[in-house]
Symmetry: C2
Subunit: 103 residues, 2 copies
DNA sequence: CTCTTTGGTAAGTTATGACTTACGGTAAGT
DNA sequence: ACTTACCGTAAGTCATAACTTACCAAAGAG
């Protein structure tokens, strides 16, 4: 019950946009809703799904709530992806080598 | 239009099972349907979605069709994940270091 | 204490997508 | 040529989930 929820959570476009918005900086529900084409309650519901998938965390800030991204949540998805390569470690190395070249 | 489709494709449980079954070896539609709790046409429809997401490929084998996994399709998803780390390269290195220790 | 801001929850509507059965099409066997 | 095996597509059903409005609770500001 980990990467399954991540796929479900990030399959929705609006939810992905919210998640990507949090990549830049922590934001409140109202701030997030401003840049989305849906209502604020909808954003709240999406944030709950993201939270259940361990992709975001909350911290109360007075009357508002500051949502932040949880990168560790993505690690589970990364591990899942690795299981599709026979030699995950060498795949990582090859990837790094490729990136170092293009830098 | 790449990692979006992958999230959508792998968000469904049945589709994930089909995809994971192909991880071991290429299989025909009939073979895949045997191990799934849904009908053969349903499996066909799922395979179409996986194919549109560049996650599987087909090769005709007489009257049957052999489906194989396309690992390159997952690379796009991996790149997307990397974008959530400020310094992707060092993140990779840290990950490798961690894995080497536990080996 | 009252008013305002902020946001989570409930209830109801609607669109989407996962499934079924039925059908058609192609390749191999006899 | 006829039959069998394998599979994709069409059409229709049904459950789910994404959205809305309405309401309620909690935390500052005056």
């Amino acid at each position: 019950m980990a990467y399954e929820d991540i796929f479900t959570a990030l399959a929705d476009q609006t939810r992905r946009h919210i998640f990507e918005a949090l990549r830049d900086q922590p934001q409140t529900v109202g701030q997030l809703a401003e840049h989305q084409p849906v209502s604020r309650p909808a954003v709240s519901q999406h944030l709950k799904v993201l939270q259940d998938a361990n992709l975001v965390s909350v911290e109360p800030r007075g009357t508002s709530r500051l949502y932040s991204i949880r990168r560790e949540g993505l690690s589970e998805l990364r591990d899942y992806l690795d299981s599709f390569w026979s030699d995950a470690l060498s795949a990582y190395s090859a990837e790094i080598a490729r990136r170092m070249k293009t830098n």
